[in-house]
């Protein structure tokens, strides 16, 4: 990018910023950096600049770079949730593309700052991740890269099994359980307490570990796996911290991208563009906001359309064609205050995550206009095909919500850390109708064994019966439970 173009871009960002403030946005300050493609692909594949080293990041980097080189797909922008936010723009993008991207970044920065799910993220995560990387490199030197890689492989393969409620919630330690959970005693009259008839409940056994089923598998392993060395506990803790940082982004993907797309559109439309620029902007905008592969949904497009629909409805504008007017619970037309749309959007971007957002605002009309459907694998004439099942809006919405529950990961809890009094680990998959991938589960159990160091059990349901997988370090056996 030439110095002239850079000056032009800088001036644009200034105006865009003022426009955004005028719209009620409150973004973090942003450091925009113009970088070559390989840098943006590197940071994109690691998730953070200077994050620790692992071959899976190298794999993603290689894929993204190859796709870029073959012109299959390209990242336009990358923004890191920190204060100030760090944004990376591609230096060989056209000037207009970078203007659009800069406006988009302002949207993300505003979202990071205001959305409640990000309230507990570490806004100095770049520095923290760098420290993690330094420590892991140190461990590689001390304990050998192979040992560290093997351990990281094991930890990363269960990285999603943490508890997103955790940052605000301190777990009671086992000894504190003595004072909790009084057993229920059937009252004989309402004066029991006065007459001293209340039995002192037996304190629950404090030997039980964990005292209650524990969803944060990483935390549990870090604290209770017996044979780990300090560096290994440290690695589990670091991976967990980074995952806690990334989780809100995973949970708000649709909203975050929808919001940033809406913001960049509003900003670019309110600033003067030449007709040629306007044409290029419209072309790029509609290529970003287009249905993707038929096997998935495009979060930019879906998020953007739902937000626009909310704005329209709260502005009291008439419904789209072939849509019923909204009614309240008495079947009366729902009154909407005029001109409330944008204020409502600011509220939505603050309060919701994807699951709540879709549950509240994905309407019948939207499912139809976005052409959403459910599909599954079926055998047709001896061939396995993916076939559309339903287009009914409630079924589609429920299937979508179902696929996002627990960020699309099976819910697994630690039931017992001293199973059978032999120090074995008993995990339970909370079956909700979707069976597990046996091959992957088997391989993952071996990884958990690597960390726990003793036999690991996992209870699940397959074909209607309870099934228990047991990994003894060598192999994984299954039995009906």
């Amino acid at each position: 990018m030439t110095a002239q173009e850079r000056a032009d871009l800088e001036k644009f960002i200034e105006q865009a910023w003022e426009t955004a403030i005028g719209m009620g946005l409150e973004p973090f300050p942003v450091h925009f950096e113009l970088v070559p493609a390989h840098v943006i692909y590197e940071i994109g594949s690691y998730g953070l600049p200077a994050r620790f080293s692992h071959w899976t990041f190298g794999r993603d980097y290689h894929r993204q770079k190859t796709m870029y080189e073959y012109n299959v797909a390209r990242i336009y922008e990358l923004v890191i949730n920190t204060d100030p936010a760090q944004a990376f723009l591609l230096e060989n993008n056209s000037l207009l593309a970078n203007k659009m991207v800069a406006a988009h970044v302002i949207g993300h920065s505003d979202f990071f700052r205001n959305n409640t799910y990000f309230a507990h993220t570490d806004r100095r995560m770049v520095e923290r991740a760098r420290l993690h990387a330094d420590r892991i490199r140190q461990y590689e030197m001390e304990y050998g890269p192979q040992r560290v890689e093997q351990f990281l492989d094991a930890v990363l393969s269960i990285e999603e099994h943490i508890d997103p409620v955790e940052p605000t919630y301190r777990r009671p330690q086992p000894e504190e359980y003595r004072h909790q959970k009084p057993t229920l005693v059937r009252p004989t009259s309402e004066f029991d307490d006065l007459l001293g008839r209340v039995e002192t409940p037996e304190p629950p056994s404090t030997r039980r570990i964990p005292p209650e089923p524990e969803k944060d598998l990483l935390l549990f392993l870090r604290d209770y796996a017996r044979d780990l060395e300090d560096w290994q506990r440290d690695i589990i803790g670091m991976v967990r911290e980074e995952m806690l940082y990334f989780l809100p982004q995973i949970r708000t993907k649709i909203m975050n991208e929808g919001w940033a797309s809406l913001v960049h559109e509003r900003i670019l439309e309110s600033l003067p563009l030449t007709p040629a620029e306007h044409l290029e902007f419209r072309r790029m905008h509609s290529s970003v906001l287009a249905p993707g592969s038929r096997m998935s949904i495009n979060p930019y497009y879906v998020g953007y359309q739902i937000l626009r629909d909310i704005e329209r409805r709260w502005n009291g504008e008439p419904p789209e064609e072939d849509e019923q007017p909204e009614t309240d619970w008495l079947q009366r037309p729902k009154p909407r205050p005029e001109g409330e749309g944008w204020r409502k959007l600011l509220e939505v971007r603050e309060m919701e995550c994807d699951v709540t957002f879709l549950r509240k605002y994905l309407t019948e009309g939207l499912v139809k206009r976005l052409d959403l459907y459910t599909y599954k694998l079926e055998e047709v004439n001896g061939e396995l095909v993916w076939r559309i099942q339903e287009t009914d809006w409630e079924k589609v919405r429920d299937a979508l919500l179902d696929s996002m529950t627990n960020f699309g990961v099976p819910v697994v809890t630690v039931e017992d850390g001293d199973y059978d009094r032999r120090g074995e680990l008993y995990l339970k998959h909370h079956y909700d109708g979707k069976p597990l991938d046996i091959e992957y589960t088997t391989r993952t159990l071996k990884n958990i064994y690597t960390i726990w160091g003793r036999p690991v059990h996992l209870e699940t349901v397959a074909d209607g019966t309870r099934l228990i997988f047991t990994c003894d370090g060598q192999q994984v056996k299954q039995r009906k439970g």
Binding site: H38, S53, S157, L384, T391, D437, N447
Partner: protein
Amino acid sequence: MWHHPPFILSQDPWDLHHRAERDRQRHNEKVKEVIKQNLGDIISHQDIITAHDGKIVKIPIRGLELPRIRFDPNQGKRVGQGPGGSQPGDIIGRQPGEGEGAGKQAGTEPGVDFYEAEFTIEELMELVFEDLHLPNLQEKGSKQVMADTTQFNTIARKGPLSNIDRKRTLIEAYKRSAKAGKPEFKIQADDRRFRSWEVVPEPQRNAVIFAMRDVSGSMGEFEAYICRSFYFWMLRFLRTKYTNTEIVFITCHTIAKEVDEQEFFAAGDSGGTKLSEAYKLALDIIEKRYNPREWNIYPFLFSDGYNWGDHEVVQLVERMASISNLIGYGEIADELWGHTDAFAPLGQALYERFATDPRVVLVRITSKEDVWPALKRFFSKHPEVEQL
């Protein structure tokens, strides 16, 4: 400085920044490990055998992933999105069968992740040859042939960016600008320094390989193909790892002939078969040019096993065995002609005589996938011979 509004726009040089390269290389190594396990399939492909140097070969493999506790990707409902007007019953994709995967884009099928690993022919060779050796090499003769090894031990001014030596580059930049009177770390192209390697010659032992090929009329297209592909890999291997080994090419039907490499590979098939001629010629050449006291000798012969005078061949192989390090006989059987597990007459005769003799290795090849195991059998270390 933060101005108002609060943002900074900056553009800095990132030339030296290649952090991801290390992890990319580690991933490549892991891909290579997977490919090494499937070399048999890969090296039997025609397009690899006919490839010229530097050609890039694409090998589809299942992407390397960490396992996760995940839902079965082939069961249950998912949500997709169409361009409009999608109806229940519409087919939106097909699930490829097991083992397919070529030509597919990553990420189009849920749960299945294919990846096309790209290798140059040279890189592939390296993988193939990593575990191959000339067996039972002995120190013989005065004429020391050289084999080369490379060592990463020098610094160069030009090189691939992934080999850049940052510290030396910065020092160079600093020195240059200091000389100009303004010390700073502004890097120019001339300042770049790269880690580089030297070729270190390593003494090696004399060896001669006899590549013999049955070119009689009974050798069909398949037999010729197997034969060629075996010798192709053998030559590549010898020339990569044992740079100065001598190779004698012999074709044989009823008459044996010493030919050059090009003729050897191009030879058509005609006439009857008298393979004793090939061994006679080889023995003759050994007598004239390769004194067994000076040379490690490795005769290889590929045939379909239909031959005139098996007894004579057995006697000649006996003589040969007394002066060779290892004798290889490969018998190619096209399974289209009926399925048997037994050797053809020549192979049978050799087997009866040499089944317990570790100096003679007999291999039967019935499909393209057998070429790799054959190479491995011939060119692995044969400890049992070394004890003799």
